[in-house]
């Protein structure tokens, strides 16, 4: 199960497991983002390379207009995936306090 929606302050709340089966849902939502945005991963448990691809595609699109995604409350395991992928250098990432 994966859910994605806007929070009360305009941040994007992600929860559950972002695997390859959920990418269409995530991609559809991310395609509508047109400006700088914070993604709150406090309830996101898991992400695979399929999810990373969506984040990268969105970040590259936003960069064309000088905007960027910021990702907050990233758990240790997801943070490891970002680090192995080198995504910690192309995203502003804030770890979750655990």
């Amino acid at each position: 199960m994966f859910e994605i929606d806007y929070g009360s302050d305009g941040e994007v709340l992600c929860s559950g497991r972002l695997d390859a089966a959920q990418c269409a849902k995530a991609q559809s939502f991310m395609d509508e983002i047109a400006d700088a945005r914070t993604l709150d991963f406090s309830r996101l448990e898991y992400i695979s390379s399929a999810g990373l691809g969506i984040l990268l595609k969105t970040q590259k699109r936003l960069a064309e207009s000088g905007a960027a995604l910021k990702i907050i409350n990233v758990n240790n395991h997801i943070h490891d995936v970002f680090r192995y992928s080198g995504f910690d250098a192309i995203f502003d990432i804030q770890a979750k306090r655990e």
Partner: protein
């Protein structure tokens, strides 16, 4: 324990539940379960993505002994594709130079402790192990 899964992405949640049940029975920590699930997904989706002409189910076997998790994915009637061959990804490339895709097998090779590939009679087997972190006393 072995189970067969239909060759499509919708099988991922069932694969997760299948493995999670076994890992939980053995008190495998989240720090090991996460990379095991990730490795299983990267392998399974790779099989689905690159063997679209094949409709045979994929066999997934998960075993746990005292200090390691061993997973075997087997697919039938497919061409050879060695997922254990080293993949290079420039993880230091700038955002402009990064392209979506290609990360799956790279991640797989970096998160498991051992990765083996066998191919015989059009049968592909991928075996990976992940240390559970438990120590013998």
């Amino acid at each position: 324990m072995q189970r067969y899964f239909a060759r499509n992405y919708d099988s991922l949640s069932a694969i997760y539940e299948f493995a999670e049940e076994i890992l939980a029975q053995h008190d495998i920590t989240e720090g090991v379960r996460f990379p095991v699930h990730l490795a299983m997904e990267e392998l399974f989706t790779n099989m689905v993505k690159y063997n679209r002409d094949c409709d045979a189910d994929i066999a997934v076997d998960v075993e746990v002994d005292d200090n390691r998790v061993r997973v075997v994915l087997t697919e039938f009637d497919v061409d050879e594709f060695d997922v254990s061959r080293p993949r290079e990804v420039d993880t230091e490339a700038s955002l402009q130079d990064r392209t979506p895709g290609g990360l799956g097998l790279y991640l797989l090779q970096n998160i498991v402790d051992k990765l083996e590939y066998e191919y015989e009679d059009r049968r592909s087997r991928v075996i990976f192990t992940k240390e559970s972190g438990k120590q013998h006393v």
